[in-house]
């Protein structure tokens, strides 16, 4: 006897956007009343029990917990390194390359918020990662993120030099690598286990 996927009838978004999208799973999230202490430890943040993505992933709580703790340190650790806007830009660039409309929406919105440059972010969404960016740090972070996202990888010494020449130090370069690499994890889960829902009417 095999189980069945959940098929939704809404029209999933078909373009990159900074708008707030939802996300629905194609497999059944763990019912809230089946969550134990072990599951809450995997969720890390208790509020995530309301989110279908995390409640599906919590079916394997150990890897979800480790995933989330990795994510939090890469994006939220404020001790030096890459400015938050550029970490979000690395996430958005990887997501734009892989084609994850949901992940790109979240992290383009965060990049725009932290940089106060929504138009530059929108150009990345509309015209792609090769679109002109005048800021050399933006250019270097986008180029590095795209190169890391390709299979096989194309990240090279030229990327490290471009990041350095833009004024980024070694810890910032590690952050850029982490940010793009992490979204090659996140994109694959978000793209393959469900789909985005249309933006809420505003």
């Amino acid at each position: 006897m095999s189980e069945h996927v959940i098929r939704h009838t809404f029209e999933a978004p078909n373009a990159f956007t900074q708008a707030q999208l939802g996300w629905e799973a194609w497999l059944e999230p763990l019912p809230v009343d089946e969550l134990t202490e072990r599951h809450y430890d995997g969720l890390v943040d208790k509020g995530r029990a309301n989110n279908p993505y995390f409640r599906l992933l919590v079916r394997d709580p150990e890897i979800l917990g480790a995933r989330t703790r990795t994510d939090n340190d890469i994006f939220y650790n404020e001790k030096g390194g890459l400015p938050r806007a550029l970490r979000e830009l690395s996430a958005a660039s990887a997501s734009r390359t892989n084609g994850c409309i949901f992940c790109a929406s979240v992290h383009s919105r965060f990049a725009a918020h932290h940089s106060k440059r929504p138009d530059d972010v929108q150009r990345l969404l509309d015209d792609g990662t090769a679109a002109a960016q005048e800021d050399p740090q933006w250019r270097a972070v986008i180029d590095a993120s795209v190169a890391l996202t390709k299979t096989p990888g194309e990240f090279s010494a030229a990327n490290v030099r471009e990041l350095r020449e833009a004024g980024l130090d070694d810890l910032a370069i590690v952050d850029a690598i982490h940010g793009a690499a992490f979204f090659n994890w996140a994109n694959r889960l978000m793209l393959s286990l469900g789909e985005p829902t249309p933006p809420k009417e505003s």
């Binding site: 996927v5 999933a12 150990e62 703790r69 340190d73 299979t151 889960l189 286990l193």
Partner: protein
Amino acid sequence: MTTDVIDHLVGIAPGDALDTLRNQRPNARTNAQTSFDALLHSDELEHVSQLERLAIAYWTIALSQSPATSFYRDLLAAEDEAAAAALATALPGALTTGPYGDYPDGPLSVENVAGLRWEPDAALVASVGPRLAAALAHTHLLVYRPRDSSEDALQALLDSGWSTTGIVTLSQLVAFLNFQLRVVAGLTVLKGEL
């Protein structure tokens, strides 16, 4: 398991510049290893067997053409030499470059990129069985063309005997390794430039 796999694959020793850099993101460092252990040294093998985990790991890394391939090949071969040989035989016919795939119909359709839609051949199915073969096809999808993912792809796994929980673990395994191999690739290049 006490060895940090990323340190091992990049060649980072205690006190190296990269060791110091990695320690500035201590939770990312620790939890990258915790993730590896959760996926490849799990005590809970009810939904995904150890052989399946090791085969999917090797296949993910090998398709990605990562220098870590020999490390994961050795892990698989230690568990099942015949499976390692069968996958190595199938590998050349499965290799391509990514990411590619289609977007939902609309303005992004002009960015659709066609590419290989790999399916295991009869010899590989006979060798590893239809259940693992289905997971290898899904791994190929996730590695190269994640935007082609669909309900139908998950239904194919369910129909091949995968449980919902097993699909979560399988997806995490492929996705995590796509992170790990890129951290290794990035730090290896950086190491040469320090």
